[in-house]
Amino acid sequence: MSFLERQLEDPVRFARIKRGFYVGLVVVVLAEIVLPLVFHGGHPHFSFEGFPAWGSIYGFVSCAAIIVVSKLIGKAWLMRREDHYDD
């Protein structure tokens, strides 16, 4: 069994990975909020970029919007059976 298999197939280890992921999310958000206050690094082009945790919020909203909107368009219009073009 390879390293990856051990990590993914053992429920205890997989739960640990999951926890690590959530901790990582919190760290990223905090870094995005706190670090600019400490270092005053970079110069955003737009005022909305100064909003606390802008990247995290926009990333989550974008991801959800892309999935939901695309699936709606797809179901309503674009998606067809695979033999759509076969005669």
């Binding site: 390879s2 990856l4 298999e5 993914l8 992921f21 990582g24 999310l25 990223v28 958000v29 870094a31 995005e32 670090l35 600019p36 270092f39 690094g41 970079g42 110069h43 955003p44 082009h45 737009f46 909305f48 970029e49 945790a53 802008w54 990247g55 995290s56 919020i57 926009y58 990333g59 989550f60 974008s62 991801c63 959800a64 919007a65 892309i66 999935i67 939901v68 909107v69 695309s70 699936k71 368009i73 797809g74 219009w77 674009l78 998606m79 067809r80 059976r81 695979e82 759509h84 073009y85």
Partner: protein, 592 residues
């Protein structure tokens, strides 16, 4: 040292024809030496104008070498090399010849300083690349190849029409900035032809139609050359054209939307080519120094990571024979190396810090920021999230992880041939080197670079964007399960629309044909023709016939006369000769 100027594209195009004559190890060596030689020829090029040929009072420039063409020629020849490494195991000469010719065409376009030579190489690319589709030799591939060729022939004709009109109007074939002719018909036609090759919607449906149907190795070449040579042509001719900003931003989002719906692994990646080229087209449209640098840098980085991603998906197709995400899963157990290398490409395209996309894509996004285009900035950033969602999460999740059903277990492959892994490793190394040492790439960009990708704000907001895209992915995972469907795109117009159109107009057309057209034909063609024919017939029987009969009769009577002389007896001829001689002698004596 003066060795003159060697056209690197010609090295590939001519070198390709050596391969069919070689065998075994020598052939495989030549497959690497030819693109390597082209790369060396690119590196040896000095800035300036080379290879000028005068035809019809026009200067054809085969070697316009400057900052822009140099950096594109580098990446095209590097890509030709990587592609040949990936294809080293393929025993099909026609594919190798086509691939090298295709790459040579791209180099020809890059170095062309005039429209005519640009056009020749442009068409060469279309004709050679279609072979890479056809050589998969499945009915669906043959059909897709014909559609691909059809679209590009139309695009080529539009380009030619634009060139001819431009030539007639200006008297010059020089290919430079077209801004002065903005809005004119030549300007429009040439722009449309360039946009078609750059796969800009609604002219871009040929790309996700054809690329997934190409051979495993052929598709890797195709991802690199057609769209990026079109981006190069746009940089040359149409930098700062406002409409490109919006087309590019729309493209970036369009590709992402279609990628959500897609089930075919390579077609999903093909839609992400459109999305990524959107950033470049947008950068060309913005047109500032930073934006042009960004478009160029992104083209460079994109060619390498996109090739890597197509190599990964191609390796899975090669070993499992499966192209649909709904039929895959659990491959990480048997193809961990492929997974690891694929993920480098996925991180690069997703602009993860320390990978190449991070230092190239952000230049375009920053250029949108610097020019205060908030909507474009938001669209491009949204597309970034979508890119990570698909190539970084959805595709690897369903291909390498996901459910591990009995059906996927029997399809499970091994690692691909070693040359495929080596090619992927080389491309992956390039993605990381560019990401870690962006200066290596920035040094070759057309404009001086005053841009720092690794600012605190940029790194933290990018990490936030990516991590929370991942969160969204896992929360909405059940809505993302790939479904065995295909998606309508503008190729509908020539796949279905044309047929439906013909069906609809068939009957009225037939009625019109037999009614109106038939009567007009009777009146305008049939009757006059019959009248003239009968006139000619009478002339023939009266004048020509009697003349011929007369000639025949006189010949016959002459023959009767001659027949008495030509008796066939030698003594008669001797007698005649003697009589003649006697007559001559008498004549000579009398004449004295």
């Amino acid at each position: 040292m003066t060795i003159g100027w060697v056209h690197p594209g010609l090295v590939l195009i001519l070198g390709a024809w050596v391969l069919p004559f070689l065998k075994g190890r020598v052939k495989r060596a030549a497959m690497l030496v030819v693109p390597a030689a082209a790369l060396v020829a690119c590196l040896l090029m000095t800035r300036g104008t080379h290879g000028v040929v005068s035809v019809l009072g026009q200067d054809l420039v085969f070697g316009r070498v400057d900052g822009t063409s140099l950096v594109f020629s580098y990446v095209f020849s590097i890509m030709a090399f990587l592609g040949m490494v990936f294809a080293l195991h393929v025993e099909d000469d026609s594919q190798h010849v086509a691939a090298l010719t295709y790459a040579g065409g791209a180099l020809g376009v890059t170095l062309a300083g005039d429209f005519l030579s640009l056009y020749v190489f442009w068409e060469l690319m279309a004709v050679s690349s279609v072979l890479l589709v056809w050589r998969r030799r499945e009915p669906s591939a043959v059909a897709a190849g014909f559609r691909y060729l059809l679209v590009h022939v139309v695009g080529g004709l539009v380009l030619l029409a634009g060139i001819v009109i431009h030539w007639a109007q200006t008297g010059s074939l020089a290919f430079g900035d077209m801004g002065a002719f903005s809005g004119g018909i030549a300007w429009t036609l040439i722009l449309v032809a360039f946009l078609l090759n750059a796969a800009v919607p609604p002219l871009g449906a040929w790309l996700p139609d054809a690329y997934p149907e190409a051979t495993v190795t052929g598709a890797v070449f195709m991802t690199a050359f057609t769209t990026k040579s079109a981006v190069y042509a746009l940089i040359r001719g149409f930098a700062g054209t406002e409409i490109l900003v919006w087309l590019g931003a729309f493209m970036a989002v369009y590709g992402v939307v279609y990628a959500v719906l897609e089930n075919d692994a390579r077609r999903l990646l093909a839609y992400h080519i459109i999305s990524q080229v959107g950033y470049m087209v947008c950068g060309v449209g913005i047109g500032t120094e930073l934006a042009i640098n960004g478009a160029t840098a992104h083209a460079f980085a994109h060619i390498l990571y996109k090739a890597l991603l197509f190599m990964g998906a191609g390796a899975v197709l090669h070993t499992t024979g499966s192209r649909k995400l709904s039929e895959m899963g659990g491959l990480y157990k048997t193809m961990p190396k492929t997974l690891g290398l694929y993920m480098v490409g996925a991180f690069a395209i997703s602009a993860v810090p320390l990978f190449s996309g991070f230092v190239s894509k952000s230049m375009v996004v920053s250029a949108a920021g610097e020019t205060h285009r908030a909507v474009v900035f938001l669209m491009l950033t949204l597309a970034s999230a979508g890119t990570f969602l698909h190539t970084g999460l959805k595709l690897p999740y369903y291909m390498f992880f996901g459910r591990d059903s009995a059906r996927t277990q029997e399809r499970r492959g091994r690692e691909p041939p070693r040359n495929m892994l080596v090619a992927m490793a080389l491309a992956a190394a390039a993605c990381i080197v560019i990401g870690v040492f962006p200066g290596l790439l920035y040094r070759h960009l057309p404009n001086p670079v005053d841009y720092a990708p690794y600012t605190l704000q940029h790194v933290t907001s990018t990490l936030g964007l990516l991590c929370f895209t991942a969160l969204g992915f896992f929360l909405l995972l059940k809505h993302l399960d790939p479904e065995p469907t295909i998606s309508l795109d503008t190729d509908w117009f020539y796949r279905r629309g044309a047929a439906a159109f013909v069906k609809r107009i068939q009957r009225p057309l037939a009625r019109f044909e037999s009614g109106t057209v038939g009567e007009i034909y009777e009146l305008v063609i049939r009757r006059p023709v019959l009248g003239v024919a009968s006139l000619l017939k009478r002339f023939d029987s009266v004048v020509v016939d009697s003349a011929l009969v007369g000639v025949g009769r006189s010949t016959e009577s002459l023959a009767h006369v001659l027949k008495t002389a030509a008796s066939g007896h030698a003594q008669h001829y001797g007698l005649l000769m003697a009589a003649g001689l006697l007559a001559l002698v008498v004549l000579a004596m009398l004449a004295r």
